[in-house]
């Protein structure tokens, strides 16, 4: 029995009526099933075009058990790193006909769990970006979120690949670079406390300190944006360090700006380094020494991993590690005679 669609919108039933066939046939035609008589198929297609019929994805999703949508949960959509990941992910997924649903947790780790679950139920898979939740919680919810890909975080839960940038190694490379320039007093302007990538940087610094006991490394609290860097000038000067490793490029830029306002020269008085190599980094004055992370590619790879899981294929690289690449530019230079700490 064929009824006309009840709602206002054009449904498969309307096309069926117009073409004088059953809605099953319409469905077949719309899905390219070749067992349909060419003549009838043409009639159906004509009716569909005339009525501007487009299958309702919700009905389709319910019947097929898939949504052709993936979700991504990020701690902060304002952060350029996550924007870049989102961009890479969205572009790659789009090429395979998948859309992306975004969920911003605004750095509230308790919210993350809820958001992730909700997003996952609407989608065929999930990318969890540098989640702020604890290892225990992550491991507990991970199975229920699969297919799941982790970025900048790992978990003991099975079948959950993760893509992580080796921030630890990157920080060590930067520190080595500063030491080679003669710096013996360094300071690290840290990122958000719960950030996994910040922890990796801290671990890297520990390794560095162990290898270079003669170098003094001061730890300063921070954040991930310009203002953090700009506001850290006092603390930086107080530390007496001549080589500053900022959490990321944004922080470095804010810091350089603040130092400039104080009449200090970079790298003449102080060398500053960033992290990420965002496009801005090569246009700052001076241009910024940093560690390049192929961050958009990370988003793209996340999709490839997720796609493999969704298709139930063997993942070719279950968990990849990305090595940042040191980019030496103009914000770092030889250490000048040791500065004395400035107090106040």
């Amino acid at each position: 029995m064929v009824r006309k669609s009840a709602s206002g919108r054009i449904g498969i039933a309307d096309v069926a009526v117009k073409a004088g066939v059953s809605h099953a046939t319409v469905s077949r035609v719309m899905n390219g099933n070749f067992t349909v008589d060419p003549e009838i198929a043409a009639r159906v297609r004509a009716a569909a075009v005339e009525l501007k019929y487009q299958p309702n994805p919700v009905g389709r999703s319910l019947a097929l058990g898939k949504t052709d949508t993936i979700g991504i949960v990020v701690p902060d959509l304002a952060n350029p790193t996550f924007q870049a990941i989102l961009r890479g992910l969205s572009r790659a997924a789009a090429q395979d006909g998948y859309r992306v649903l975004i969920a911003d947790s605004f750095e509230v780790s308790s919210e993350e769990t809820i958001l992730a679950g909700e997003a996952r139920r609407r989608c065929d898979g999930l990318v969890l970006c540098a989640p702020r939740m604890s290892d225990a919680e992550l491991e507990e919810i991970a199975p229920s979120l699969r297919p799941l890909v982790l970025i900048n975080r790992t978990t003991a839960a099975a079948g959950v690949p993760s893509l992580v940038v080796d921030y630890g190694q990157g920080v060590q490379d930067i520190a080595e670079h500063l030491v080679e320039l003669g710096h013996t007093r360094l300071a690290f302007l840290a990122g958000p406390p719960r950030s996994a990538s910040n922890n990796l940087r801290l671990q890297g610094l520990e390794a560095f300190k162990a290898a270079h006991p003669q170098v003094e490394v001061t730890m300063l609290e921070g954040g991930s944006d310009f203002d953090t860097g700009h506001g850290a000038v006092d603390a930086v000067l107080e530390s007496g360090a001549t080589g500053i490793l900022a959490f990321n490029d944004l922080v470095a830029m804010g810091l350089m700006s603040g130092l400039h306002e104080r009449g200090l020269d970079v790298p003449g008085d102080i060398s500053v380094t960033g992290f990420d190599d965002i496009p801005f980094a090569r246009y700052t004055t001076p241009t910024l020494t940093t560690a390049a992370v192929p961050i958009t590619e990370l988003g793209e790879q996340a999709w490839h991993q997720l796609r493999a899981l969704i298709r139930n294929e063997e993942s070719d690289a279950p968990g990849s590690r990305y090595q940042p690449k040191l980019e030496v530019r103009a914000s770092t230079g030889p250490a000048k005679a040791a500065r004395t700490a400035v107090h106040g």
Copy 2:
């Protein structure tokens, strides 16, 4: 008849079985229907918790005819302007329990129509961000996309509010500022050709030229990123202009960087202005004179408009106009004695 859910996942039927009630009752409880006996309701809730049951949003969407999701179509997710709009939109929508589905058209205007339609069918409403398509096409498809909100674009189609930034006025304010500083030869480093906001800027410049016939305004082709600005140094110098209006802050930063490399001083030799007032603008060297656009707020307002349409309420402000605010910083200064055009 109550059957257990067929698929692997926990469904409403499983909870019904466990609680010894019909799934209708479970549905009532899950939706806070108070006609259910408190004792039974408690039993159902307990069963739901124990089974970790969460209603399937797809089934819900099909039954309710709504998805609690909105879509946003942007021409380029890499553009900070659209990122900011997305952020504002996402944050505001999340507060009302709505999620955001993104569709990036990658500046391909033919793709926009398809993407918009697809996104719309999965969502309860759509935000179309500075679409590149023609007025005719926009007007034609707009009705089928409603509830629809336009950003930086208007249409004759009925019931489609739009939020537009008055880029024309902003550009005029900047140009006036440069004239007051004594500049008589200006150049505009344009944005993407199909960009509506670029057209608005061009219109603003026409108005400016009409009001200031004595001022020479050179038009230069451009784009919307750093590289555009950086690569425009030759053209800028060739123009002989002393006051350069860059399409946006990114272009301005690229240009300043390029000028710096040539040993030219900003604003000593040339004044440079941006547009948007992205956070970076106050940290460049020199700090950037620009026109501030409350772009995140724009995304937020887009949601409020869309929400009103979805709820079928009267929109309180059917189509708002945002005035950019001139921010004078250090990248603009008095014109020095007229430079002669540099050739080659």
